[in-house]
Symmetry: C3
Subunit: 644 residues, 3 copies
Amino acid sequence: MKLGCCYYPEHWPEDIWAEDAKRMVEMGLSQVRIGEFAWSRLEPTAGQYEWEWLDRAIKTLGDAGLEIILGTPTATPPKWLVDSMPDMVAVDEQGRPRKFGSRRHYCFSHQGYREQCARIVEAMAQRYGENPAIVAWQTDNEYGCHDTIVSYSEAAKMGFRRWLSDKYDHVDALNSAWGNVFWSMEYRSFDEVEPPNLTVTEPNPAHVLDYRRFASDEVVTFNKLQVDILRARSPGRDMIHNYMGFFTEFDHHDVGRDLDVASWDSYPLGFLEQFWFSDEEKLRYTRQGHPDIAAFHHDLYRGCCAGGRWSVMEQQPGPVNWARYNPAPLDGMVRLWTLEAMAHGAELVSYFRWRQAPFAQEQMHAGLLRPDSAVAPGGHEAALAAADIEKLGQIGETAKSVALLFSYEAAWLFEAQPQGQSFRYLELVFEMYSALRQLGLNVDIVAPDVALDDYKMVVVPSLPILSPSLVERIAKLDVPVLFGPRTGSKTADFAIPADLAPGPLQQLIPLKVARVESLRPGMTEKGSDYEVTRWIETVETGLSADEMVDDGRGIIFSSGPVGYLASWPPAPLIKRVFAAMAKEAEIATLDLPRDLRVRQLGHVHFAFNYGTGDCDITDHLQGGELILGEALIKPAGVAAWTVA
Amino acid sequence: MKLGCCYYPEHWPEDIWAEDAKRMVEMGLSQVRIGEFAWSRLEPTAGQYEWEWLDRAIKTLGDAGLEIILGTPTATPPKWLVDSMPDMVAVDEQGRPRKFGSRRHYCFSHQGYREQCARIVEAMAQRYGENPAIVAWQTDNEYGCHDTIVSYSEAAKMGFRRWLSDKYDHVDALNSAWGNVFWSMEYRSFDEVEPPNLTVTEPNPAHVLDYRRFASDEVVTFNKLQVDILRARSPGRDMIHNYMGFFTEFDHHDVGRDLDVASWDSYPLGFLEQFWFSDEEKLRYTRQGHPDIAAFHHDLYRGCCAGGRWSVMEQQPGPVNWARYNPAPLDGMVRLWTLEAMAHGAELVSYFRWRQAPFAQEQMHAGLLRPDSAVAPGGHEAALAAADIEKLGQIGETAKSVALLFSYEAAWLFEAQPQGQSFRYLELVFEMYSALRQLGLNVDIVAPDVALDDYKMVVVPSLPILSPSLVERIAKLDVPVLFGPRTGSKTADFAIPADLAPGPLQQLIPLKVARVESLRPGMTEKGSDYEVTRWIETVETGLSADEMVDDGRGIIFSSGPVGYLASWPPAPLIKRVFAAMAKEAEIATLDLPRDLRVRQLGHVHFAFNYGTGDCDITDHLQGGELILGEALIKPAGVAAWTVA
Amino acid sequence: MKLGCCYYPEHWPEDIWAEDAKRMVEMGLSQVRIGEFAWSRLEPTAGQYEWEWLDRAIKTLGDAGLEIILGTPTATPPKWLVDSMPDMVAVDEQGRPRKFGSRRHYCFSHQGYREQCARIVEAMAQRYGENPAIVAWQTDNEYGCHDTIVSYSEAAKMGFRRWLSDKYDHVDALNSAWGNVFWSMEYRSFDEVEPPNLTVTEPNPAHVLDYRRFASDEVVTFNKLQVDILRARSPGRDMIHNYMGFFTEFDHHDVGRDLDVASWDSYPLGFLEQFWFSDEEKLRYTRQGHPDIAAFHHDLYRGCCAGGRWSVMEQQPGPVNWARYNPAPLDGMVRLWTLEAMAHGAELVSYFRWRQAPFAQEQMHAGLLRPDSAVAPGGHEAALAAADIEKLGQIGETAKSVALLFSYEAAWLFEAQPQGQSFRYLELVFEMYSALRQLGLNVDIVAPDVALDDYKMVVVPSLPILSPSLVERIAKLDVPVLFGPRTGSKTADFAIPADLAPGPLQQLIPLKVARVESLRPGMTEKGSDYEVTRWIETVETGLSADEMVDDGRGIIFSSGPVGYLASWPPAPLIKRVFAAMAKEAEIATLDLPRDLRVRQLGHVHFAFNYGTGDCDITDHLQGGELILGEALIKPAGVAAWTVA
Ligand SMILES: [Zn+2]
Ligand SMILES: [Zn+2]
Ligand SMILES: [Zn+2]
């Protein structure tokens, strides 16, 4: 695995570039990402390019031995460009145009802006496409950051109408698919359809789901436009985009099909603070991040490019500036996060950023260096990690174990119609993932359409729209499979299946969901050693339940290797179910303490201590040979060992 | 009492209509409401009517023996209509037009839309007015749902100016009535007046109150426009509108004057979840609804039509889709709610809806049938209720007992100027109603202008604008009357009376409110066995107080049969006061357990168990003869008995 | 000290004016403020002045012996004026114009409105400038009330561009100062710059800070326009504006430079309810206000005019109408607040308002009289206070003791970039002020540019932009000085200093802030008898820390008389630090109980009991002679004594 950093030569005096490059190499870094926000410097006014500074920056970095990932600057169009077509900005759900003054001020559907993007990318590709220092391109930056996927602009409206016309061909098909007869919402032509915002009460969820699909497809074509230009002009270079954390607004699998490497931006402390975790978890892991946050995304994004290639393009190196509260990582966490990415198979961990910028929006975001160029704590840990990586050397691949199916469409669907405000798809997936990880299992988070043949066990937290092809593929497997609540509960048109939920899954397990309920906080259905919260279903079936709650309703059913969970997963129960499945699949499990996580890569076992106390892994070593760390792992410590 | 359901033939294949009708009758239903959202099917494009399908639907239902309530479709104008006059939509308080894509996308003040409504209603009335299967018309649907009464559109602005000109004749009268000299808010003509939204800080409350009165009047004339057309073309049919729960945005008494039957839509679980109830109450009654929610509305809407005729047009039959959390009712609740409506004197309970729709916004809203046409739990309970009703037969009328005065204007006034954010009129009324019901009393919730002669006891939770005529009528009564806080605190122009609060009430009880205070949560004034919260007044009077708090301030005063409560009602105290009033009025009271409610209709006594445990009513039977249920009432159970 | 009241002759029948005036004098009042909202009566339609009623009002009041403060009516332009230039209103951050219908509906940057203001002020000045009854003018009313300082209108945009052009001369200087190369935010001309609202994510904080500086400067010039006209036409009269509480949206020091007297509007109960105080404090002081609220503002505004002259222009006399909850003051508090203002050196306490208005927005705001003209409790207490003031006579000045530096710019800066949502500048200042006051110290809150020579001790809660001149001035002092967290952390251009924080302070104390952290609630760093919350810094220094938390980080450092606090101040620690500083400065401190405050004015010591229990000050009297009250101070009681 390589290390790298994000660098902005345009932010610094040219006379320190060479010294910066030299220090990067000395710290153990071999790659550097540049350029992704530099449009106003590359083209200060329309059509007048200024390449020379970037030529010199690339030469300086390349001469120092660094491989360069060059970003296209389309996330930050300059003011002159926006002023030349003011309607290019996205419009928010409230109808407000989102103004210039920060970044991502564009609508993915604006054709004029797409032309401008093609032009600047073509110009960069012409100039640097064959430059030997360039090893990869990053398209744009963090698609969707700051709620920018779903736009309600005029451009989006026109794009949506075209998209609908392509999909449905005739408006009657749309009316029928959406059920527009309900509330007289029928259209006479595609030109009558509007974006689903600012309606009096909630819009038709089928309308919303198609709008979300459309918005996601717009990202795919926006990205592909750049990739196609770059591939033509810059052969042999990797095409990369940097995804974000806990972010589902577009289909990353779809975008990934056009990339060579899926990368993501890993900010474990900020993500802990900003997402659904409990106050208890936020305090316990305030300087470490929840132990499954980084791993979850590693395992998710590994499934987003055909070849399974993935990287961390931005790694948090210290306190950030953008969460509600921004504490510093515990000493050692930057190294831990780095090595954990390695354990999950990353090609690169690139720290964001080389040196803390003293100005503008991110001036309080730490770098590897402080603003005064002294090495920051994160820089010291990066150097330690570089040495560890050197010591560990190249490690082989891992055999497939557990597949967890993840669907972006499912996320949109449940946002459109949660039916209970605590039903959140991403949280459901994360809780199941976390239960698997607490058992020490290696998990691949994969799209619903991938081949599942080599997996020993399959978990589907929920898949409301269940394709016949997936049902067929599962039917052919002979490994334990668990489906979670609301699976098969909707048709592709966002309707209830004629044979009710779980729809086509009834071919694999003979049961029908007669009724569903969302439960307010505090309302529970008691089981043996667990309580059902949030969601429970009433199932009709001839099967006898594997687990029942006190009122007699079954919540776990199985039919051969196929299981169905008819509720939000209670933590103790789901862990027990997964352990039983693993046993049946003949995969070894561990009973890990709360703060410890392990992963196996090739022949190497890694352990990561996310706690603030020591953690003794002697029992887990099973006679293996420690190649990193000790059996008593310190807080934020890492151990690695091989088993003969 | 009849049973019915809401049915949408346009949602289902025509070949199942007859079977549906047959099954309705078999279930014990005799009425069916149809048509109220079908505009796009009746007039798919401007001026081209398609009646045939509705002709056939009416025939099919009528032939099966069902009586039909036909809805006018004006709650859901089609897209072509909205596109023909885009300014017909309501504008919200933030100035945003409320777009097409759901329902109720119109402004009550838009003259062009009124013309369109008149046209479609006239066309329907011509075609179906004399159809023998049609027994009633429902105008529009749920006026005001989704915050649609108060609009800030151009049409509303022009309408408001006309309304003001009619009311005040000269702008100087308006300036004087509102006190516009304050902050130089004076107008030189009615054409300078704007809707009271988006002002820098709060607008003049007199301005707001007149705007609310105007908005309510717009609903009255909008409704009357349809009623007048229908009465002319459809003689002998009942005119009905379906009101909602806990909803005060227009004056239901005023609209009711043009109707024959006031109906309402009863969703006890959704209302519990969405309104002010405490978490403890929301958990305790999560599958039953608070025991006073349905009864409160029954007793309220019985007072909204001249003849006291009322119905439940939509009865929750299972889990709904629109609350934050949507649990299922406890087994038996659908039957309980049905029989409770009977006990309060309903003519009809109509379940919403016959069959759960598998598509569009309400696909997760239960019906009597499931989407796969199997009978849902609610359907089974409807059939049980039908049998019970048959068994109970026709029951006579009830003697008048307690009158509780309710004013929509009071709700608007206190919203315009709460003077403490916990002072909520509807909650105040509900708390007093609940205290009366816990004593086993029959309550009529009536408008302030009704004759009170036959009542044995009168409660006025608060009536800030107290008319001289009401004072006169009360003066002539010789029964206990209690007035709550802030009564008589304002003139009709929203000013403090010259002689201070309680204004004209001082003719009945010699006291003056010298000072009022709103109290933050946690701040209390202690009394004997109670604590005053939220609101307390300092009263000047020669009377000695019936109750004092520890600082010596009196909070209950009486002068002959007239009492005044100078604070938010503490639960134990108000129950004691009402019991004493009832004793004086020689009405028997009970001390009911928390989850039990009773009502007397004619000679029949009903008891309803809202708890999850059994409830023994042996003591309350007083030698009566059980005609329904047992003395030990199960959860969600009902008992009825007659006393010799 | 004088007493006065706010009076609105235009609200009352002319025939009671004389009686009102007589009663004011009898109550002990000698000044009266009038006119500040009367524009629609002075100029009912464009250009048609009606002076006669005001002539008569002034004559009536003056004849009664009252001195008049005449307000300019520019806070309430009439409707005809707004309609004549609809773009004169402010536009909020969401882009919504803020409509007519209340008050302050203007944008400070609108040139047309400035002309109208100049015109009406000129007209008033011509008519009344030399009227002997007029002793002072109040410009406008409560600049900034209801969020009206920062406007995003077209007028503001044009004004901002001019302001930027004046400041930076060339746009390259702006780009460089703001660091606009970050995210390609560079401009090619000032005409490309927009107000920093509605950006996709947060705008450049340097952009925001300049916008806040601009907005503040607009208030300064708006005020000066009126002052210049009035000074020319009304020689010898005091120029006053009435500031508000806990309000930092413009630089009150800057505006104060053009005034003779800084006044403020003191509503202790409303401020307690509306600001950051804990629920425990809100309940404890619900009828008194937090004991430091009024004093804080007295000491702050005394520092806002060159000569230290200040007044309370509006004093809460009873319950108000505008807080979430509006309880009544404890008996005695109105008198206490009045005498406390005296103890802090006020020239005038003027009650708001004479008689409670029965109409419009503030009809629930108490006055000295009730709406029925009876004396309200506040009126009785005003009369008591008048007698006390008479008894105390004229008291001399106070020697300087503690200076606390306060910067409006700092407030704007930390709002633009809090880096942790619990870091609030005003709260930080208030906590330090409160700690000083609990030690019985007299405090002057002063601007960072004032001469500090005569002070015995200096506290700088935080001063992120530290001017070289201040560093020089401090260097010359030989008294204890404490600087709080984030001092010197930014350059004037909102960047991190090249030598890191505390920037130029490193000349006085050799330390560097290597890292900062914001801490979520519940996250603490433990010290000896205290816990650090909210904010902590990691300091690099050769100094040994005076205080360390458990992880070994120093949080208090000192170098000679200069100290630095590297965290949010823990209450017990900061009190200890201040006590030690005072001891070194040879200022006596007290250990006051929680609810007691003292102040020394000239030779008189005052004590104020903010508690609901008695407070014994025998120990503090130190042999002094009581001239007011007793040693056992009742709740809401006051004592005063002289020490020989
Ligand atoms: Zn981002
Ligand atoms: Zn509704
Ligand atoms: Zn104010």
